[in-house]
């Protein structure tokens, strides 16, 4: 039972960056752009958070700077797509590689490091301990001593449905992403709405990266993100753009992440567990494709 609780507790922590990035990616996709560049924006957020936190002794400034930097990156990525007709998939990949190059260059040049960075005076995210909750049996382990970003991530996840479905902004973003013609006929500025959704995605990806660097170990390394940007993508594809569904999927992925780390520690193969997110996405897309095919009037 100990181990299950442990896996769940660390699973929740590992879920946070995935959840944040997934929420941003989901919003972006509702706006009509598939954001393959989440990975790069998370990397950017991670290093910015570390640097700012160390230099200002404030974790809050750290995460805000990270969010801001990544949302700018998100805007740049989006403008290439909406105003210059670039292909969103290629630009996403390009952004990942570009950011990795810049960050790696910066690390080596200014810090003489070959991939990792640890700074003095880095302020980690504080652990919030709510006495009442700590004493609850299972929820206690799950929710005690978690950092602010974890709390924020779940707040966002729970308020996403409201934002998307109950606000004018949400409706208009969804409209722009669903059918450009209809949006234009109503007088909406499609490109601006799309760019806005990308900046939001960047914002959350930055927060996600910040969590990975100053949320747990206070360390940055080039391999820090290790594919979580793509896991977030898998999550909102699997969750079919519904926030609650997606956040539950993120939680599952986070727990799987925790499990596979454990397996590695025990010397057991962790790859099958690692591959689960990818396989589930292929499965769900195939299912949806089959359904569409069944309903179409085309021959064959």
């Amino acid at each position: 039972m100990q181990i299950v609780e442990y896996i769940l507790a660390s699973g929740v922590l590992l879920t946070t960056p995935i959840l944040l990035a997934a929420m941003g990616g989901l919003f972006n996709r509702l706006g009509g752009i598939v954001n393959i560049g989440l990975e790069g924006k998370m990397l950017l957020g991670a290093i910015v958070a570390l640097l700012v936190s160390a230099n200002t002794n404030s974790w809050l400034l750290g995460i805000l700077a990270a969010a801001f930097a990544s949302s700018l990156a998100g805007l740049l990525f989006s403008i290439l797509i909406t105003r210059l007709n670039a292909n969103m998939i290629i630009v996403g990949f390009g952004l990942n590689i570009f950011i990795a190059g810049l960050v790696g260059f910066y690390l080596k040049w200014f810090h003489g490091s070959s991939g990792t960075l640890k700074l003095e005076n880095t302020v980690l995210l504080p652990k919030i301990s709510i006495p009442f909750i700590n004493d609850l049996p299972i929820l206690g382990t799950l929710f005690s001593n978690k950092d602010p970003l974890t709390w924020i991530s779940w707040l966002i996840a729970l308020s996403m449905p409201w934002i998307i479905f109950k606000t004018r902004l949400g409706m208009r973003v969804r409209c722009a992403g669903s059918d450009e013609h209809v949006a234009r006929a109503i007088g909406l500025n499609v490109k601006t709405l799309m760019d806005f959704s990308s900046s939001v995605a960047g914002f959350f990806a930055g927060l996600a990266g910040a969590h990975l660097s100053i949320g747990m170990l206070g360390l940055f390394s080039m391999g820090l993100i290790s594919g979580r940007g793509f896991i977030a993508l898998a999550a909102f594809y699997f969750g079919r753009n519904m926030p609650i569904r997606t956040s539950l999927v993120c939680l599952v992925f986070g727990i799987l992440d925790s499990m596979q780390i454990r397996l590695q520690g025990l010397g057991l193969p962790s790859e099958p567990v690692q591959a689960i997110p990818w396989i589930t996405v292929i499965g769900i897309l195939s299912f949806m494709g089959w359904r569409e095919h069944r309903n179409s009037q085309e021959l064959g």
Binding site: W278, L285, E292
Partner: protein, 340 residues
């Protein structure tokens, strides 16, 4: 006038990317001219340097051609990285696990393994796309990660070399090694195989029926279907061919350079190949030039570390910029000449 605008737009990404690199260099107090000319001499300055460049270009030729075959048919296959890796593993496996007398026979089977594994690997996304219109971008992207998981799992498990700390397979038998062309450089016969594939690709594009139909499906799928081209067959066979070429490339890489399969087998050859296919717009000549260019960047990048402090990551900055800009349209103009 339109012709020169078109050529300019084709080269724009590369020009801008060098510009961006120059900005970064200036920002850190280095001279772009100095660094770029250093890269030029390190890439092409002597026979040995050229050999190193061509050696670095070899895997890129395969991945670029592989990607181009799919892209040309309008299928956004981004799964070549996975095909390359699994092809390499398969090739290495046949290389170390089977004893064969004759070098050509052994190499033949290793390469065949790479081709088969690479091709079969992409069958599922191909079928899903052709029959159920499932988005091939996401499926092939996911498959890449699954491929890495499979390869890592196998390399750390049943295929692990005895006594090896690092995650690697045993060395392949000498009978499976691809000849070195210009010792002591790493240039190996795989380069010649790559060139051969490139020439075949050129033929494919200009002379073959398959290549013609592949291109028509990519230009206009509705039209192709209406005139009686079997679009499903073309889409699937193009993807299989893509995967086969990618797998062949991986196998050559294992046999010629590494002589085994190691974790970290591909430092993104698939992605670089994709960038090359994009800026060259799937043309054979363009792929040759692009592969050599990026090969030079990669090999020069490592050696200039000896002469300057410029981090290797500058290459990523250049490559990333190229990809960011590869698909933008700045000039909207009528194409009066059907090219390629």
């Amino acid at each position: 006038m339109n012709r020169s605008k078109s050529i300019f737009q084709d080269f724009l990404p590369i020009i801008i990317s060098f510009g961006v690199g120059a900005v970064v260099l200036i920002f850190v107090g280095e001279s772009p001219l100095e660094i770029y000319s250093l890269m030029l001499s390190e890439g092409f300055g002597s026979t040995r340097r050229i050999a190193a460049t061509l050696s670095s270009a070899t895997p890129l030729i395969f991945t670029a051609v592989a990607t181009a075959v799919s892209f040309r048919s309008g299928v956004f296959n981004i799964g070549i990285e996975g095909a390359f890796i699994l092809g390499g593993l398969a090739g290495a496996f046949v290389g170390f696990s089977m004893e064969m007398s004759h070098i050509f026979i052994h190499i033949f089977f290793c390469l065949l393994a790479g081709i088969l594994v690479g091709g079969v690997w992409l069958y599922l996304p191909a079928w899903l796309r052709a029959n159920w219109k499932v988005d091939e971008v996401v499926t092939t992207l996911m498959l890449n990660f699954i491929a890495v998981a499979i390869a890592t799992g196998l390399v750390n498990g049943p295929l692990l070399a005895k006594g090896a700390g690092n995650n690697m397979t045993p060395m392949i038998h000498e009978s499976a090694e691809l000849l070195k062309l210009l010792p002591p450089s790493t240039l190996h016969a795989g380069f010649l195989i790559g060139l051969f594939i490139l020439i075949l690709y050129g033929f494919f594009c200009s002379n073959s029926l398959f290549g013609f139909e592949n291109k028509m499906v990519g230009l206009n799928e509705f039209f192709s279907k209406t005139v009686g081209i079997n679009t499903k067959k073309i889409i699937i066979s193009s993807m299989l061919l893509s995967g086969a070429i990618g797998g062949l490339g991986g196998s050559c890489h294992a046999l010629g350079v590494l002589h085994r399969y190691v974790e970290g087998f591909s430092p993104g050859y698939g992605w670089t190949g994709m960038a090359i296919a994009l800026i060259s717009k799937n043309s054979a000549i363009g792929i040759l030039i692009g592969s050599i260019l990026f090969g030079a960047l990669a090999s020069a990048g490592t050696t200039i570390q000896l002469f300057s402090d410029i981090p290797l990551d500058l290459i990523d900055v250049l490559q990333g910029t190229v990809m960011l800009l590869a698909t933008i349209t700045v000039f909207k103009f009528k194409k009066d000449n059907a090219d390629r």
